[in-house]
């Protein structure tokens, strides 16, 4: 104990200096507390107070994060977390998703009418958001685990928040059980890694050398165990079983959030792990422990195939979007083969667009479900005739999800394809080519199921079509997001200049 005394002052100084960079997270914690208190004491008199507080906290966080946009990589709190350009970009993405989510909940009827009110939801969201931010920045295995758990616990609560009906309870239960098992597996992997290498810091050179000194099977096993935890968050194929049920069962705003923010955070952690195995000379991943290129490509192929093909047979819109998001995750994996800080631009671009389009899709689907009770694709018949504005917005969003011009989904898809082809060029691995071809084919398949919606809405008739009032905030939001998708293909510079 006494040996450590000389270090105390320096570590305190380090922590204090780090706090300066930690403003956004401090705001989140403050916001969390204030929202809880305001919800406890003022929710009767000012029902909208917690909403306004949450929204302003998130805007503040976005502003504070963007202040560090141009910063060079800086270790904080003794290297527990590392703040760099990429992490800030991730944090901004989370802000985008959270802000849309907050607005979404605010105008969702199920949440509005629920006895519990939505104050608690906001505080859960802020806590989850803190976890997401930490996930994006963590550079230490314990930090990774803690932040991941923080996000997961919050997500379980979100799914079961309304506890409306058996289906939702089942979804929450399934999610919690599956998540708990996966995180236990991950923790086991982390403990093995610590045992093998003697360090918890991912960027410590001892980490990699330690791994190489262990028999290959053992270190590969430890890594795979950790990857299982991450793959659960990403809902990659062998670990995707929870996602369709949870997405279908959870309240729609929560589904929209879960399919974007935590997934992106999962990617942030995955990138952190892959960074260790990055070989600057060949600009690619290389590892003697595990053929990472093969594993990643294989997972990507599986996810794209399963996600897209199973989506064809779905009739429930939310379930279809859930499967399609599995396919999108597989597609995003293709952007991870080129490794350099600026090389992630393609994937960040894709994620930004993905957040916008996924949120928009769920928003509009939710609006339709709320106003007409229609949840199945074949019930959408004739909707386009009466509600052209809303349905055209949905069409634009779906076109963007397919990745066709004239929407920015195409640009995003194009960029990811570019990095994947470049990776193939550099490495010449046949599996990468197979992955790229699979991605192309799954684009065609995805057209088939996404277009079942406009097919029903516009091409088919029904007697007595339902009219949905356009005077609803959610309609405005959906239309605005769809418009954004069109705008961004003409002026991608709006995004580029941040990335």
């Amino acid at each position: 104990m006494n040996d450590l005394i000389p270090y105390i002052s320096s570590s305190i100084r380090d922590s204090l200096a780090s706090l300066n960079f930690f403003r956004a997270e401090i705001s989140l914690v403050m916001g969390f507390l204030v929202v809880i208190l305001s919800d406890l004491f003022f929710s009767k008199r000012y029902p909208q107070l917690s909403f306004i507080l949450t929204l302003s906290t998130l805007v503040l966080v976005a502003y504070q994060s963007s202040g560090f946009l141009k910063m060079v990589s800086t270790p904080l709190f003794g290297g527990m977390i590392i703040m760099d350009h990429l992490a800030i970009l991730f944090k901004l993405l989370f802000c985008l998703a959270s802000i849309l989510f907050v607005l979404f909940i605010r105008f969702n009827r199920a949440f509005q009418n629920h006895d519990k009110g939505f104050g608690d939801m906001y505080s859960i969201l802020l806590a989850v958001h803190l976890g997401l931010n930490l996930m994006a920045m963590s550079a230490n295995l314990l930090m990774v685990y803690l932040s991941l758990e923080m996000v997961s616990l919050g997500s379980y609560l979100m799914v079961g928040y309304l506890s409306a009906g058996q289906r939702q309870t089942e979804a929450a239960m399934k999610y919690a059980l599956f998540g708990a098992v996966c995180s236990a597996i991950m923790l086991y992997g982390i403990s093995l890694l610590y045992g093998f290498t003697g360090t918890l810091y991912l960027n410590d050179p001892a980490f990699l050398s330690g791994l190489h000194n262990i028999p290959r099977m053992a270190s590969a096993l430890a890594l795979i165990l950790v990857f299982i935890g991450i793959a659960f968050k990403l809902s990659l194929v062998p670990l995707h079983f929870w996602s369709p049920d949870v997405y279908e069962g959870a309240p729609t705003p929560v589904t929209a959030f879960l399919s974007t923010a935590p997934k992106i955070a999962g990617f942030a952690v995955l990138i952190k792990f892959l960074e260790i195995f990055y070989d600057p000379e060949s600009k690619a991943l290389s590892s003697s422990i595990l053929d990472l290129n093969f594993v990643l490509a294989f997972l990507a192929i599986l996810s794209m195939l399963l996600g897209n093909f199973v989506a064809i047979w779905q009739n429930n819109v939310k379930r279809m979007l859930a499967y399609s998001s599995i396919g999108h995750t597989g597609f995003m994996l293709m952007g991870l083969f080129i490794f350099s800080a600026s090389g992630f631009k393609a994937i960040i671009f894709y994620m930004t667009v993905y957040v916008i389009m996924n949120m928009a899709a769920f928003l509009i689907v939710d609006e339709i479900e709320e106003k007409t009770g229609k949840q199945y694709i074949n019930e959408y018949k004739g909707l386009g005739k009466k509600n052209s504005l809303l349905m055209i917005s949905l069409l634009i969003v779906l076109v963007s999800l397919t990745g066709l011009p004239p929407t920015v989904g195409f640009t995003a898809k194009f960029l990811v394809f570019s990095t994947a082809l470049e990776a193939y060029n550099l490495s010449g691995l046949p599996i990468l080519m197979i992955m790229i071809i699979t991605a192309s084919l799954s684009t065609i398949v995805s057209l088939f199921y996404y277009f079942k919606v406009p097919l029903n809405a516009f091409l088919r008739e029904t007697s007595g079509p339902v009219q949905i009032s356009t005077r609803s905030p959610k309609v405005y939001m959906g239309v605005f997001l769809a418009f954004l998708l069109l705008l961004l293909i003409i002026f991608p510079a709006l995004l580029e200049h941040i990335i």
Partner: protein, 531 residues
């Protein structure tokens, strides 16, 4: 603002106007669309008269005319380099005929849209977006921009067929969409591959500039598509593979025989104006793409596969014609005749001779006008009695003399009667295919001989149809009611038919109107391909 941009974006502006105007004005929308296509036509005539025919263009950037180049997307992708995507428009001898054709066909299609009665707002906005896309495809010189316009054509067409089509419209619309998307998704991969292989010597960035892609000197040493490196993907030469992928993408549009099955369905189910656009313009996008992209960027692979392309052309000619003979539905017959006539385009292109390429270009323009006319004529009958089975009509000549007159012009022009454009076009394509053996040895003579059999077959099916439907005693399935409904050509219809008939005659008598403007480009293209 450059003239080409006006030409491309005028319809979009009009589409916005249509969207904004309240539905009470919906009877006026067609006049907006008509006005747009008229202005486009006047503009394209103006561009045509000002066009400098000495400048070949093709693979030399500053020989293109009306160039407009603005930086569009500049994303720094780190290790991959900076993305250089331009808003880059320009025309040469290959594109100028298509600009005029597009304006003309759009004009005719708008006139034929009078038959559309439901949901006019949606119809005309989609129609105008389609107009923009087609114009854009013919002007774009940046591959990325080209691709965007190319894909932009799909969505409006899907809805135009799907919402205003016939009984099996859903099936036809999605089939069309999936077929074309299948081709274009793989095209995207080739575009990206080309992008990595080509450097812009001026800036040192990778580029999507098509013209720079045509110069072997701009390829990075050892890159995938560099001719020197001779790389292979999955065992096939990378350049050949890329050529085949691009060729299939465009050939689906043309369409070539094994990949043509979307066409009869789409045509039969589509409403008349959409059939006109499909046959008059969309098929030409395929032919234009083969010339501008496949043959220009991969000339070596083009020469390598010329024999196969010629064979595909021949098969399309014969198979399309034989199928047309067997049809009982008039619209289906014309759809198959399109397959047959577009085969001449492929044959002409595959010969890589000046005659062959000129013939192919002329055939595209001529067929654009004639197929539009044929579909318009079928639409007239269908509109009047909602039937188009050949066997249900007889002796129409007596009932509708003027109509029969136009039908005869269209039929005789299509079957290649001298004096009409199709004769010139098919003759030149055949001459090209025939001389190819001596000039460059790409196509054997029997292909030309076989193709001339196609002309014979087309005479057979057109004349037989003429005889069955128009001559003899009046005998209609619908009896007296049909007799009253089958009124002769109206003024509006004459406005559409006369320009098309004029085009066929004009190009048949003075093909030099077209040959003059594109000759320099065709020579340059032949030189580029055969070296």
């Amino acid at each position: 603002m450059n003239l080409l941009s006006v030409l491309i974006f005028l319809p979009i502006a009009a589409a916005l106007l249509v969207v904004i105007l309240p539905s009470t004005f919906q009877q006026r929308f067609k006049y907006i669309a008509l006005g747009v296509s008229l202005i486009q036509f006047i503009l394209s005539i103006y561009i045509y008269t000002r066009f400098n025919k000495v400048l070949p263009g093709i693979n030399i950037e500053n020989e293109f005319q009306l160039i407009e180049k603005l930086p569009w997307i500049r994303l720094d992708l780190g290790s991959i380099g900076k993305l250089e995507i331009d808003y880059f428009l320009g025309i040469d001898g290959l594109s100028i005929p298509f600009l005029m054709l597009t304006a003309l066909i759009m004009f005719v299609a708008t006139l034929s849209s009078w038959e559309i009665k439901t949901n006019l707002k949606a119809y005309f906005s989609l129609f105008l977006i389609l107009n923009t896309a087609v114009m854009g495809v013919f002007c774009a010189l940046d591959f990325f921009l080209f691709y965007i316009f190319y894909e932009l054509m799909l969505l409006p067409l899907y809805f135009l067929i799907g919402m205003w089509g016939g009984a099996r419209r859903e099936y036809a619309a999605i089939k069309f969409f999936l077929y074309t998307l299948f081709g274009s998704v793989f095209m995207l991969l080739v575009i990206i591959g080309l992008y990595f292989s080509v450097l812009n010597p001026a800036t040192g960035n990778h580029t999507f500039n098509m013209i720079l892609m045509m110069d072997p000197a701009n390829y990075i040493e050892g890159s995938v598509f560099s001719a020197m490196a001779g790389q292979s993907i999955l065992g096939i030469s990378a350049r050949l593979l890329a050529f085949i992928v691009l060729f299939i993408a465009f050939a689906i549009k043309v369409p070539i025989v094994p990949l043509h099955t979307w066409l009869p369905d789409a045509h039969v189910e589509a409403p008349t104006p959409v059939s006109i656009i499909l046959a008059g313009l969309l098929l030409k996008v395929g032919g234009y793409g083969i010339l501008r992209i496949c043959f220009s960027i991969f000339p070596d692979s083009a020469v390598q596969s010329a024999w196969w392309i010629g064979l595909i052309g021949l098969i399309s000619i014969l198979y399309g014609a034989l199928n047309a003979l067997a049809q009982t539905d008039l619209k289906r017959l014309i759809a198959y005749s399109s397959v047959s006539h577009m085969g001449f385009v492929l044959l002409g292109i595959a010969s890589v001779t000046t005659e062959g390429l000129s013939g192919a270009m002329l055939q595209m323009i001529s067929h654009g006008g004639l197929s539009a006319m044929l579909f318009f004529l079928v639409g007239m009958i269908y509109n009047r009695v909602h039937d188009r089975e050949i066997s249900n009509f007889r002796g129409l000549a007596e009932l509708m003399p003027q109509f029969t007159f136009f039908v005869m012009i269209a039929f005789f022009a299509s079957l290649g009667l001298p004096g009409f454009s199709a004769f010139m076009a098919e003759a030149f394509s055949l001459i090209g295919a025939f001389t190819s053996q001596d000039v460059n040895g790409l196509l054997p003579r029997w292909m030309a001989i076989g193709a001339s059999l196609g002309i014979l077959l087309s005479a057979a099916y057109f004349l037989w149809t003429l005889q069955r439907m128009f001559f003899g005693q009046i005998r209609l399935k619908g009896g007296e009611t049909w007799k009253n409904q089958l009124v002769d050509v109206t003024i509006r219809e004459k406005f559409a038919l006369v320009p098309l008939a004029m085009l066929a005659l004009l190009l048949g008598i003075f093909p030099s109107l077209l040959f003059d403007k594109m000759n320099a480009s065709v020579l340059a293209l032949v030189h580029l391909i055969t070296g």
